[in-house]
């Protein structure tokens, strides 16, 4: 318990101090890189809600990530070109306001997860993994071949969306926004993990029969978790698109799903802060290994393999051990 709290604090502090240092050292790229880690951490937290807390191995979370990205892309695209998104039956205009875009991304992610989850949760095990993958692929191919919003070329947004009172093009200010959102999501997730719902969901993961025997329906718990998971991942997608000022079907590809899963595993499945550590570690690896060799994927693969085979529980498992009790 103690060590986990310390590690949490260290990671959060490091993520905060690095950009602040970079600001004074005039290394703006380091700020951008940290922002990327923060946003991917939010995506990981989203997946972890389904994967870690609910035991739902989804290989289709790129769908929610990409939908969040497209929610941002499409809204900003229309605002940028002064064309309405829809005129009939009601007039919907694009927007460049971040809070509004986040809301749309969250709702889109949640709705998609609700529908995909409602269908996919009829299956279990490998079937669940594969049907989520299939839904992800459907979105991917749809996005590639749908011409209205750029198809495979994606959508470029020339100026980052706005947040009242801030200059979002300034890396440190955009970082601040993402960091605060990370804190909010972390706090919400941390509370949810300890809530009545979190307790029952955890039981449903470990033993669905037990949950039925106490009069609850696992399916509803899973579906709720999956929906929340989709909402958080959608938010991360919108932020990620805003970071790059660009969205494309690559966000929807199955490799993206795999990578988000890698963050969760590197950090530690089912730990509230696990994905934060995992995403930071991943960015660090990508950055340091990428400079090492053209064939750096080999090293990444080897490290990942090592973690899965020998360091179960990821970074958190390694440092904190298997202590779980949290009351």
């Amino acid at each position: 318990m103690k060590r986990e709290t310390i590690l949490n604090a260290v990671i959060l502090l490091a993520l905060l101090m690095l950009p602040v240092w970079a600001l004074f050292a005039d290394e703006p790229f380091l700020i951008t890189l940290t922002t990327r880690a923060v946003i991917l951490a939010i995506a990981g937290i989203g997946l972890n809600f389904a994967l870690g807390f609910g035991g739902l191995v989804s290989l289709g979370h790129a769908a929610f990530f990409g939908l969040g990205g497209y929610a941002m892309g499409i809204l900003a695209y229309h605002a940028q070109n002064y064309t309405p998104m829809m005129e009939w039956p009601l007039l919907i205009e694009g927007t460049k306001s971040m809070p509004l875009i986040w809301l749309v991304a969250i709702v889109t992610g949640a709705l998609a997860a609700l529908v995909i989850g409602a269908l996919s949760l009829r299956t279990t095990g490998v079937y669940f993994i594969m049907i989520t993958l299939a839904f992800g692929q459907m979105f991917y191919y749809f996005a590639i071949s749908w011409p209205a919003y750029g198809g495979e070329d994606g959508l470029s947004i020339y100026v980052r969306n706005g947040f009242p009172g801030l200059n979002t093009m300034d890396p440190i200010q955009f970082f601040a926004i993402c960091y605060v959102l990370l804190l909010i999501v972390l706090f919400g997730t941390w509370r949810a993990a300890r809530s009545p719902f979190g307790l029952m969901l955890g039981a449903a993961r470990q033993n669905p029969d037990r949950v039925q025997a106490v009069g609850q329906v696992p399916y509803r718990l899973y579906l709720t978790a999956f929906t929340i998971s989709g909402a958080i991942t959608g938010l991360a997608g919108a932020l990620f698109a805003d970071l790059n000022r660009f969205v494309s079907p690559a966000m929807l590809s199955w490799q993206t799903s795999g990578e988000i899963m890698v963050f969760v595993i590197l950090g530690g499945v089912g730990r509230v802060f696990g994905p934060v550590a995992g995403a930071a570690l991943f960015i660090l690896l990508e950055h340091s290994l990428g400079g090492l060799s053209e064939f750096w994927h080999i090293y990444l693969g080897a490290i990942l393999l090592g973690v899965v085979l020998f360091a179960r529980g990821g970074l958190y498992g390694l440092i904190v051990g298997r202590e779980v009790a949290h009351d």
């Binding site: 509370r191 809530s195 979190g198 307790l199 037990r210 039925q212 025997a213 106490v214």
Partner: protein, 249 residues
Amino acid sequence: MTDPVLDIRGVSKSFGGLKASDQIDLDLRSGEIHALIGPNGAGKSTLIAQIAGALAPDSGEVRFGGRDVTALTTAARARLGLARTFQISCLAMDCTVLQNAMLGALGHRGDVFRFFRPVMRDKDLVARAETALEQVGLQDFRRFRTAELSHGQRRQLEVAVALTLAPKAFVMDEPMAGLGAEGSRQLMTVLDRLRQQAPILLVEHDMDAVFALADRISVLVYGRIIATGSVAEIRNDPAVRSAYLGDEA
């Protein structure tokens, strides 16, 4: 005499050609422990599954608290007050003992979909869970991880979880299985007291326990109930002796 709490009428279930349950009639009255015994493969687990709602019978009905629950799910039956313990411990192993007990209390109270208030600070839930743990004698282990409990303690915890559901009837599937003498004795004391709270349908292999606890015994052989009666009646039933106790006597 009052209506039985649990009433199984003409329940049949076949798998392929095998009749696992054949026109079974069985009831459970308030205040009693009704033991269900039978050799391996007699169809006890199949019957329990149909009572709890995990399996649907081919024909017949299950009535609980005066209402037909045959079409209801396991969860719905549990909410009506039918508490089940499992043959193989069915607990959230990574949770603490207290949390497992709270699961029952929470499931019974029903307000699961709350996401913000820490459950461990819910005084009402903690109190209900602790009461149940005390009843089975696990109060000193509340902070232990369930996986750390001994086999017998897990059995006790199963019973405690069932208790938190404030049940109208218990269905217990071999609660003594794999317990040592000491464990069995402890659990028997618990069950003995429990029947005042709600009647128990007890499936059990341990004959000493059955004869010590049961008010009535039904004997299931090849999917059929061949006899129902008091301990003395069953001991002396010739059909039971030949079919079941025969190999022991």
